[in-house]
């Protein structure tokens, strides 16, 4: 890789991160914390060198110069911050496009990672196990890249399925309704839940089907994907909350893991959220927790 290739790859990976750092720098300046501004500006200058963003390096030097002359939010400091923002906007693809793409990538990535995790648990020869490990490692790298590009905080994915396997056999049966239009995602969840005793999984491919199954079967837990073909996920959530499932825990499975989005979903009635790629261990724990007493 040439230096230009290295910096280009990093700009793609860290475009969300750089944007966030510039925002945090502006906030520190607004809060009047001069030491914090100077420290952040200095670090950002180092990052900007690595990313080959000379305009951002220059903006950070201007900001340091402004704070050296007067450690306050002067016009010069404001100008430097504006220049920093402009340089980031000029260097990164539009945030909207990145968000859409990373959102769309999370569903198939979830399937790849999930099945690879299941493979790791299977009875494989050493060589094949190494292949499964390589798939998991590569898929996790993609997840990190997507988190970085979309500005979502890096998710923790400690998927130790072996440890999550339920020990007791005499547990109360639990009915789970999964509203999901992607067949591969549904199959993955089916395979994962097979590892728990006494789980009855119902899958609905559309919002309407999900609502009618919820009414008829009264599940103990609803897993709800938001990208449905007929109704929006929010609409399904609202109707579940109005209907007989008013008290049923509804866990929203979403590719959009920005904290503000997750808060919104909880505000709209979701009892919990699972960000894609899904932490399978956490999925098992949620299902176990939904068992009737």
């Amino acid at each position: 890789m040439t230096g230009a290739d290295v910096s280009r790859a990093l700009r793609a990976e860290f475009s969300g991160e750089i944007r966030r750092r510039v925002d945090e720098l502006a906030a520190a300046s607004e809060a009047g914390d001069a030491d914090d501004v100077v420290r952040r500006a200095h670090m950002l200058k180092g990052s900007a060198h690595a990313l080959a963003l000379p305009a951002l390096v220059a903006a950070m030097e201007q900001l340091e110069g402004a704070y050296r002359a007067q450690p306050a939010r002067t016009d010069e400091a404001r100008a430097a911050l504006a220049a920093a923002r402009a340089s980031v906007d000029a260097s990164a693809p539009p945030a909207e496009a990145v968000a859409l793409l990373s959102h769309a990538l999370r569903t198939p990535l979830n399937v790849v990672l999930g099945f690879a995790h299941l493979l790791q648990q299977a009875d494989l020869r050493t060589e094949e196990r190494a292949h499964a490990d390589a798939i998991v490692e590569a898929a996790e790298q993609i997840a990190v890249l997507i988190d970085g590009a979309s500005g979502a905080p890096p998710a923790v994915r400690p998927t130790d399925l072996a440890a999550a396997r339920a020990p007791a056999a005499d547990v109360a049966p639990v009915t789970v309704l999964y509203v999901e239009d992607d067949p591969a995602s549904a199959r993955l969840t089916e395979e994962v839940l097979r590892r728990l005793p006494a789980v009855r999984l119902l899958v609905a491919g559309t919002g309407a089907e999900g609502l009618s199954l919820a009414e008829r079967e009264r599940p103990h837990l609803v897993l709800l994907d938001l990208g449905l073909p007929d109704l929006s996920g929010e609409e399904v959530l609202r109707r579940l909350r109005e209907g007989p499932s008013v008290a049923t825990p509804v866990v929203v499975v979403t590719g959009d893991s920005r904290p503000e989005r997750l808060r919104e979903l909880r505000g709209a009635g979701a009892s919990d959220t699972l960000a894609k790629p899904v932490d399978l261990g956490r999925l098992l724990a949620l299902v176990d927790a939904a068992r009737p007493d």
Binding site: G3, S7, L10, E13, E17, H42, K45, G46
Partner: protein, 203 residues
């Protein structure tokens, strides 16, 4: 250009972007990252656990200066060559780096070739200090070690009280050390002193 000998580099850097940059820079070379530390404290732990050939040290770590880390590692008998990285040219940094026991300095850039060359040089036993750092002017008052330590902690975002706790001295002593440092730096305020000290490569 891979060579027979693999070179293991311990990367001591708090900025995740720069750490990723270093990893990518090494990809087509004989170098590999032996471990990554985000602070001086992590580095001190990692350096005894991981086998490595060279230390790549950021000068502005959250808990200490890179030069101070190198100084303390030398006291502990760690003789691995050390390369100091800075985000900008800092007056007197080369002198401070040499005094601390480092073998090289390099100002961050987007050029992997430069970084790799510097590391190869120090492994061949050569000192290589970036000429971008202006020399320390003759006779310029240097900070006493405790003044420097107090100022470095403040520059890393610690309050006086936190700095006092870390150095095992009273708040009042920290205040005195900082005031003396301000005078030597010709600064009136904390942020101004931090900037000036940074410009001179002292913190």
């Amino acid at each position: 250009m891979p060579s027979a000998e693999e070179i293991a580099v311990l990367v001591i850097e708090d900025d995740s972007i720069v750490r990723s940059w270093v990893r990518l820079c090494f990809r087509d070379s004989e170098m590999r990252v032996a471990g990554e530390a985000r602070s001086a404290k992590e580095a001190e732990e990692l350096v005894v656990r991981r086998r490595c050939d060279v230390l790549l040290v950021d000068q502005h770590l959250p808990d200490r200066l890179g030069t101070e880390l190198v100084r303390s590692l030398r006291k502990q008998g760690v003789v691995l060559p050390a390369v100091l990285m800075t985000a900008s040219a800092e007056q007197g940094l080369n002198e401070t780096a040499r005094e601390a026991g480092a073998q090289a300095s390099v100002v961050k850039s987007s050029d992997p070739v430069r970084l790799i060359e510097v590391i190869r040089e120090v492994l061949s036993g050569n000192g290589i200090f970036d000429v971008a750092h202006p020399r320390r002017p003759d006779g310029q008052a240097t900070l006493a070690p405790r003044e420097q330590q107090a100022l470095a902690l403040v520059a890393a975002g610690k309050t006086n009280r936190e700095a006092a706790a870390q150095l095992g001295i009273s708040d009042e002593t920290v205040k005195t050390l900082l005031e003396r440092a301000y005078v030597k730096l010709g600064a009136h305020r904390r942020a101004e002193a931090v900037l000036e000290a940074r410009r001179r490569g002292l913190v």
